[in-house]
């Protein structure tokens, strides 16, 4: 596995540990890129103030053609992600402690936070927002994709479906914005991790102590 890891310029010569396999990284980026396309094109159709995005991306008709197709790709990628990460995303007792202390996390008093596993409670919440959001987006999106299949006497269902689509989308946008902010600005180690697959051991020890301990004990027993 390690031979397939990309080496990126590192912040330091610190020892690193593997956090994401190649499969996980591909899955994440299929999710990410398909989501961003749907986000941009969806915002274009959401408000006239942003319809210019549709013009940039090929025009309204092109956007209307691709948005649902890329949307299905996104949902498929979420399904894939769910199948490989679901087991890491269950809420634990530590998560509840973390949740109670979220103020310290927000204020970057991380030394006060309880030790976390591979993902903290916030990351898990984001994962489940995306899973349930994707279900809402898919089910409502099918109606928006083929409204001509909906008979005249069922047209009353269309406004409801558009409403569900928008509420689901806005929920994922809220999660996505925090995700990008955390991953890119707050913890650039995490961003490098999802590209190269490796994170500094000290970073893992600080933010994901339980996982870090588990990895080091496993590697010791293996060696």
């Amino acid at each position: 596995m390690s031979t397939r890891d990309v080496s990126l310029p590192k912040a330091s010569s610190e020892p690193e540990i593997v956090r994401y396999t190649l499969t996980e990284r591909i899955c994440h980026w299929v999710n990410g890129i398909s989501y961003v396309y749907c986000l941009l094109t969806g915002l274009a159709l959401f408000t006239p103030m942003l319809f210019w995005i549709a013009a940039v991306l090929g025009g309204g008709a092109v956007v209307r053609f691709w948005h649902p197709i890329v949307g299905v790709l996104f949902v498929a990628a979420v399904y894939w992600m769910h199948s490989i990460w679901q087991k890491d995303m269950k809420t634990t007792e530590n998560d509840l402690k973390w949740k109670a202390q979220i103020k310290d996390y927000i204020e970057n008093n991380d030394q006060k936070m309880p030790a976390q596993g591979k993902y903290n409670f916030g990351q898990k919440q984001f994962f489940w927002i995306m899973v349930y959001g994707a279900i809402g987006l898919l089910l409502s999106g099918l109606f928006l994709w083929f409204p001509e299949m909906v008979g005249r006497s069922w047209h009353w269902i269309l406004p409801i479906m558009i409403f569900i689509h928008e509420v689901s989308a806005l929920a994922t946008i809220a999660g996505f914005m925090i995700h990008v902010y955390m991953g890119v600005f707050q913890e650039p180690e995490g961003f490098r991790g999802i590209i190269s697959g490796r994170v500094p051991a000290s970073w893992a020890r600080k933010y994901h102590r339980l996982w870090s301990d588990q990895v080091s004990s496993e590697s010791k027993t293996r060696k």
């Binding site: 912040a11 408000t47 006239p48 204020e107 030394q111 047209h155 500094p200 600080k206």
Partner: protein
């Protein structure tokens, strides 16, 4: 009226002002359909096809005189027939010319996300511009009359234009020209209201239709197609005409408050995160501070 009547006063999916908004002194045009003198001859259906250049569609026989179950992307004008049994054992044979109602507050235009795909002219005509249409059919969602129809081949939506091309050069719509009984009238909205009122009074005085009235639903701001009905409280008997049509509430919500809540929420989120970064900075990398106090780098 020429030229000026085609000044645009509302544009779908459009950010910013519209040049023709609130500047016109022109009359609103209006079509008045007197269902009490309609004989269901369908000359208006043919005239509509003729003027707009569509082939006659395949008809469907359903044991009534109705040409087909519903209007279509290339069949904008349909007489709907209904035999209604009355309480006294008689039967009323109702017929109504169904087409776009050209609402003053058009739900199609409100729902449409594509800039310029639907416009409302200063004279009240609501028109679709297929070259800007993206085929999403949100207009179908917004329309309380189920008028816009989708062409699955071109992925564009079509409907009655109230012959905006004819009206723009001072002509009557094609359907009006063809009506043999004179049950179709066309003129300014004010004139049509007066005409309708006269006819309704006549029905009250000289017929058994004591509840005759004008259909000009205020839930959509009034329409630029009005009906005279034998019984103004039984609109649904005329091929499912809604008694009190409104733009669906959820359409109003997601094109109104939700657009602002969502948009401002995103901006507030970006602003909030930027402030957070300036106040608290990035989380430390964990280097050289595994057991140190604070998150200073």
């Amino acid at each position: 009226m020429q030229g000026d009547t085609l000044k645009i006063k509302a544009i779908s999916g459009h950010a910013g002002t519209v040049a023709g908004e609130g500047v016109s002194r022109d009359y609103d045009v209006c079509k008045l359909i007197d269902t009490t003198t309609c004989i269901g001859c369908k000359a208006c259906e043919v005239a509509c096809l003729e003027w707009n250049g569509y082939e006659f569609r395949e008809t469907t026989f359903d044991n009534t005189y109705q040409t087909m179950p519903d209007t279509a992307w290339n069949y904008w004008n349909l007489i709907r027939f209904n035999e209604r049994p009355n309480e006294d054992g008689t039967i009323s044979w109702l017929m109504r010319k169904d087409q776009c109602m050209h609402c003053a507050d058009p739900g199609c235009l409100m729902a449409c996300p594509a800039d310029g795909a639907i416009v409302q002219y200063a004279n009240g005509i609501v028109d679709f511009n297929q070259e800007h249409c993206i085929g999403c059919q949100y207009c179908v969602t917004g329309c309380p009359f189920d008028i816009p129809k989708f062409n699955p081949v071109t992925k564009k939506v079509h409907k009655c234009t109230l012959c905006s091309d004819r009206v723009g050069v001072g002509l009557e719509p094609a359907c009006i020209k063809s009506c043999p009984t004179g049950c179709l009238h066309f003129g300014s909205k004010d004139d049509m209201k007066i005409l309708a009122e006269k006819r309704v009074n006549q029905l009250h005085e000289h017929s058994s239709h004591k509840n005759a009235g004008v259909y000009d639903p205020q839930g959509v701001g009034g329409t630029h197609v009005m009906y005279i009905l034998h019984d103004k409280d039984k609109a649904a008997d005329y091929g499912g005409l809604p008694q009190d049509p409104h733009i669906p509430l959820l359409v109003q919500i997601w094109k109104g408050p939700m657009k602002w809540i969502g948009g401002l929420g995103i901006i507030a989120g970006i602003f909030g995160m930027a402030t957070h970064f300036l106040r608290f900075g990035a989380k430390g990398s964990g280097e050289n501070e595994v057991s140190a106090e604070g998150s200073a780098k």
